[in-house]
């Protein structure tokens, strides 16, 4: 049994796919705006954000807080919330790393896209449960 379900429409998944391929071989990141309903979460909009970690852009990201603030403002104006974060793992599996765990916040969904030169290989979503990430189901 997984922690919950993340509803991500196909069109939004395609946007994430395009961001991931566009940034390859670097990591890119962004925000998921949507609504919570118990264990289910609906993503209504996605945003790409600037990766401030230029030195290690191939295996690290640091989401520009200015982009967070802008997305948060837009979300509130639309009656939505920032419900999660997405980022890419170029040439690595879509599983949270120790670095991801160290930087993670509770309550949010963390969508990870594994991307290679040939495109996005795998998309998985995770949520913190205590100190550990647990996978949640993605449905379109």
């Amino acid at each position: 049994m997984t922690m919950g379900t993340l509803f991500l429409a196909e069109s939004l998944g395609s946007s994430l796919d395009a961001y991931a391929r566009g940034a390859y071989p670097n990591e890119t990141c962004g925000l998921l705006l949507g609504l919570n309903s118990g264990r289910e979460r609906l993503v209504a909009q996605v945003r790409e954000a600037r990766n401030l970690n230029v030195e290690r852009a191939q295996d690290r990201f640091e989401l520009d807080p200015q982009d967070f603030l802008a997305a948060d403002r837009e979300a509130r104006a639309a009656g939505l919330d920032v419900v999660g974060i997405w980022h890419t793992h170029p040439d690595h599996p879509a599983q949270p790393s120790a670095t991801d765990r160290a930087g993670a916040w509770p309550e949010w969904s963390y969508v990870i896209l594994s991307v290679s030169r040939d495109g996005v290989k795998e998309v998985r979503s995770w949520r913190l449960n205590g100190d550990d990430f647990e996978e949640e189901t993605i449905r379109s």
């Binding site: 990201f61 807080p65 509130r76 974060i85 980022h87 793992h89 916040w105 309550e107």
Partner: protein, 94 residues
């Protein structure tokens, strides 16, 4: 007293009984956040160091400016200002 609105990000709403924003009074960012801490038990230790500065993984914004680029926690606030607690978001494949 000056009243400001403090915007609370989802990961910290467990400390505000789910509220996405809370009103607080104070003449500076530090005073407003201290007032918030009194109303919301446990919140301040997630946001500020024991010395009262923003934690490493937290940014405090006044309007659209990081308070680090202003006068820090001692930045004065005006009636109706919005303070945002912005979680630092970082990670990566390695």
């Amino acid at each position: 007293m000056t009243t400001v609105t403090v915007r609370i990000p989802t990961p910290l709403r467990a400390y505000t009984r789910g509220a996405d924003e809370v009103r607080a009074q104070g003449a500076t960012v530090a005073e407003a956040l201290r007032a918030l801490g009194t109303a919301c038990d446990g919140l301040l230790t997630r946001v500020l160091t024991p010395e009262g500065e923003p934690r490493q993984f937290v940014n405090i914004y006044l309007g659209s400016r990081n308070v680090r680029a202003l006068r820090g926690m001692e930045t004065p606030v005006n009636e109706g200002d919005v303070i945002s607690i912005v979680p630092a978001v970082a990670g990566g494949s390695a």
